[in-house]
Symmetry: D2
Subunit: 128 residues, 4 copies
């Protein structure tokens, strides 16, 4: 274990870095559904040129078999500008929505990255 | 112009590769809003191990100033499996939702990539 | 043409943003070779928390057929730190090396992104 | 620990998925150097439309402070084609070169992703 040692977790209600995974109440095998993953649901994370959430990755570990990378969302606008930091026209907030279809139950794991506070994760079970 | 020569566009109602950008009716300067970008809104695009939409990128060109990369969503599960192509547990569909805050009007440009049909784009104006 | 309108080009000897593609003298069909793509070869581009090259993407357009995305390198460390901008332990410079195998001649197109100066490109022909 | 549970490691000489990190003999604080990260150095990994290494990410954990994402290389061409799987013009092999500058000692951690065999990692210490 190397990277796993440095991926932090916590309760998202008190720790703003933790990615929050939101699923529909009911998921059916072979049917599309939406997975919302966001950082800062309860306590907003800063979004400045100097401090921001850079990306969120979503993984799925089926009950049997290897982990699959579902997707990854990059957030690349943080107020940067030729006029100087935080003077720019655009900001991207750390929120992603993945449209997914699963053929097996398992669990989702989300990993998020803050450019100064490192890697954070959370997981949620998927049952049909 | 090099890459621009190879990015195709068309009406999404007849061409399944074109990314569709959906915005709220009303956008206000400095207020968060959601930008949905998807491929296959009218005619579904295949999602198989051999043929899929790999990613969607979103750009914002303010009325004055340089283009900014807002974000990028990668779709990385396409039924691949140790059991063979299209036997896997997970599929990611080409749909992305970006949470954005703008301080200037301009236009969004979305670019999508099909692993066998190349680059596609569309654009939409943003007015406050 | 939408995104193509905003991708700039120039001579890399006088314009520091232009990606430089370097190939071996001789390329053979079906044999691996290395493609170096870098920004700032002649005139270094800044690499600070506020201003940096975020990524380089490499495309290949075969003489016949659609454009293919060869790869993409993200540069994600720019001195950011909990101690403040430009106080961090790590910087990633905008240089990428792709190991590639081609079965057809065509051309490579590189696109680079500066977080405040936008999109830049260059191209080079591949002959066997 | 969630994602760390599913990131596998092994000796790269017997296990083809493990990313191999190669550093120069001597690294100096504040001076640029190259970090090569590749999969399949000893035993080549398949590169087909159905089975490939999709990306390699590089992290740096300074002796004190949080982990930083140095970069990420995506390998996006695997012989896919409108003519069918493995008939395409281009293949990208899983090899990446990062140009880095560090101000503190620590360790690099590389993570690689096989689209059917999941996540793999390795690490190497950096001393000045
Ligand atoms: Fe943070
Ligand atoms: Fe297609
Ligand atoms: Fe610049
Ligand atoms: Fe494998």
């Amino acid at each position: 274990m190397a990277i796993g040692e440095f991926v932090k977790s916590a309760d998202f209600k008190s720790e703003k870095h933790v990615p929050v995974i939101e699923l529909p109440e009911k998921i059916e095998a072979g049917k599309e559904f939406l997975v919302n993953v966001s950082v800062g649901k309860e306590i907003a994370h800063p979004n400045t040129t100097e401090h921001y959430i850079g990306w969120i990755a979503l993984y799925f570990k089926p009950e049997s078999g290897n982990v699959h990378n579902i997707g990854r969302a990059e957030f690349t606008a943080h107020g940067e500008s030729t006029k100087g930091a935080n003077q720019g026209p655009a900001y991207t907030e750390p929120s992603a929505l993945f449209k997914v279809k699963l053929n097996e139950p398992g669990k989702f794991i989300a990993v998020s990255y803050c450019n100064i506070h490192g890697l954070w994760e959370s997981e949620v079970e998927v049952k049909f």
